[in-house]
């Protein structure tokens, strides 16, 4: 039993490590949005900054709780999807903000940011193609 638990623990750590760094923050390839640091990206996903450097309203795109969101949110804002949901629940129900738009897959995120120059979202690194440009590799 003890061996099983240790193996499970090691496997869990290894799985987490495998995801870390496998996601990227992207915008459409024709977007004017420039490179971002981790701190600025966190401000967008926590609703603390809502406008781009150009002054336009930023459209932030999220994904549901999955391996990609777990990795990205953990690396950029140091929160699990559950903690992130609790954070936004508090923001919503205290009237302080509206959470990012939720899209269900890397393909949907790419399609959306490619057609919205003010949009940014995260996808797995392996999904990057010519329709998007990378703003941050956390």
């Amino acid at each position: 039993m003890k061996k099983y638990l240790i193996s499970l623990f090691v496997f869990t750590l290894a799985s987490s490590a495998a995801f870390a760094g496998d996601t990227v923050l992207v915008a459409g390839s024709n977007s004017a949005i420039g490179k971002l640091d981790k701190s600025k990206a966190a401000e967008y996903f926590l609703g603390k900054t809502t406008t781009l450097a150009s002054g336009d309203k930023a459209i932030i795109v999220d994904q549901p709780s999955n391996a990609v969101s777990t990795s990205f949110l953990g690396a950029v804002i140091d929160k699990t999807p559950d903690q992130y949901k609790a954070y936004w629940s508090k923001m919503i129900f205290t009237g302080k903000g509206v959470p990012p738009k939720n899209l269900s897959s890397d393909d949907e995120v790419k399609k959306f940011v490619a057609s919205n120059p003010n949009a940014l979202g995260y996808i797995s690194k392996s999904s990057v193609d010519s329709s998007v440009k990378v703003l941050l590799e956390p």
Binding site: A42, D82, K85, S89, K90, I92, F93, T94, G95, V98
Partner: protein
């Protein structure tokens, strides 16, 4: 609208079932409908005192499992009129005063945010007495089954107000200051006691970084508090009903005290400090508040000092936690002022009434994040009061008066948001 408590279960289950659909149906770029709720049951082994989650509830649980103490359901609509202007409204159904569930519109305000630094709110909104006041009904957002009752079981009304917030960045910290001016809703604590608030003002400052959130605020208001005791006392002291309290009480008119004890224009001042610190999987939350107020009989001044400290540690989906909460009374009583001539038992009773709510609670519990929008919690509260005093609990009519001052409460809840 009133719902019988047993019907609440049906409403909550239906709302959970419909939640995902509703969310998908109504969400659009301009309009967003969100909801939250708690299905909770609580019980206490104490047959003398009933446990309740706030002092406005005139009934609570004692020796039975009660769904009404913690259960609630709410809906919120955010409608973006423009990028800068939005309309926010929130309605909540929960047990308020009596056994029935009451639904009411808590918030209805316009928010104007010309940029990320400034925001102005105008309309009906939460009064900012305490840091977590605007999350009271959203149990999903905090670790515990309910906010620590020593700090959060007292009146915390909504206000029709205007509020201005300004946020600025200082190195790694967001600094936010606010100013608030409004008129709080009148409160009916029981069938007979009421608090009629006059305009209140509040100022505060908060900081926020990756792992540390703090808030400091000061609120001041005046209010007229009336109750049968005070009304009868006035009559007694003005010789209208001098003998109402039996031989030995109010035997002579005392107009000075009568004029000073009509319950109007009592000054209330609230000072609050809050800190939330996260270190790895640890989370520490603490809040201390002081409520200073006229005792209703000049020149007596009294105050409540409350605090709680909480520590939790996240292990995967589980977050066990411990909390210690305390409410202490400080201020003038007949004994402390040495007014030995002042033997009117009704006065004495009113002045010592505030002292009887003193209590502390030690809590252990665990939160399980069953899904991204569902949390299940189990909690055990050990409440300790001065012997033979109710603390924040409700005296069960006809119960024996002699108790050891200890009450244990078990609670299980399911919180959800959508």
């Amino acid at each position: 609208m009133k719902l019988r408590t047993p019907h609440l279960m049906c409403v909550l289950m239906l709302s959970m079932g419909l939640s995902q659909t509703a969310s998908a149906q109504f969400k659009s770029d301009a309009l967003r409908i969100s909801g939250f709720g708690t299905i909770g049951i609580a019980t206490s082994a104490d047959s003398n005192y009933a446990f309740r989650s706030n002092t406005q509830q005139s009934v609570g649980t004692h020796r039975t499992w009660d769904m009404g103490v913690d259960s609630k359901f709410g809906l919120q609509a955010n409608y973006a009129l423009t990028d800068q202007i939005s309309l926010v409204t929130q309605a909540v159904a929960k047990r308020k005063t009596e056994q029935d569930i009451e639904a009411s519109v808590n918030w209805l305000y316009v928010r104007y945010s010309p940029n990320d630094s400034w925001s102005v709110l105008a309309g009906k909104m939460q009064s900012p007495f305490l840091a977590l006041a605007d999350s009271t009904n959203i149990s999903y957002t905090y670790p515990w089954v309910r906010l620590p009752i020593e700090g959060y079981s007292f009146t915390n009304p909504e206000s029709v107000a205007i509020r201005v917030d300004h946020r600025t960045k200082l190195k790694d910290f967001d600094i936010t200051g606010f100013a608030f001016y409004g008129k709080a809703d009148d409160v009916k604590n029981t069938k007979t006691n009421t608090v009629d608030y006059k305009p209140l003002w509040s100022i505060g400052v908060g900081t926020e970084s990756d792992n540390l959130t703090t808030r400091l605020s000061y609120t001041k208001t005046t209010a007229s508090a009336t109750s049968p005791d005070i009304t009868a006392l006035q009559g007694c002291l003005t010789a209208k009903t001098r003998n109402a309290f039996g031989p030995g009480t109010c035997t002579t008119p005392q107009p000075f005290f009568a004029a000073a004890s009509d319950g109007t224009n009592r000054v209330y001042a609230y000072t609050d400090a809050y800190v939330n610190y996260t270190y790895g999987n640890w989370q520490f939350i603490s809040e201390a508040a002081r409520t200073a107020f006229d005792a209703g009989i000049n020149p007596y001044q009294q105050q409540f000092n409350t605090y709680f400290v909480s520590a939790s540690y996240r292990v995967g989906k589980f977050t066990p936690y411990v909390v210690h909460g305390s409410l202490k009374f400080k201020g003038d009583t007949v004994e402390t002022r040495g007014d030995r001539f002042f033997i009117n038992p009704v006065f004495t009773s009113i002045l010592s009434g505030s002292k009887s709510v003193q209590q502390s609670t030690n809590t252990i519990g665990v939160r399980f994040d069953a899904a991204t929008n569902i949390a299940i919690k189990a909690q055990w509260d050990m409440i300790k009061r001065d012997p033979n005093t109710p603390g924040l609990l409700k005296i069960v009519p006809g119960a024996p008066k002699t108790t050891d001052g200890k009450t244990n409460v078990a609670s299980v809840s399911l919180d959800f948001v959508f």
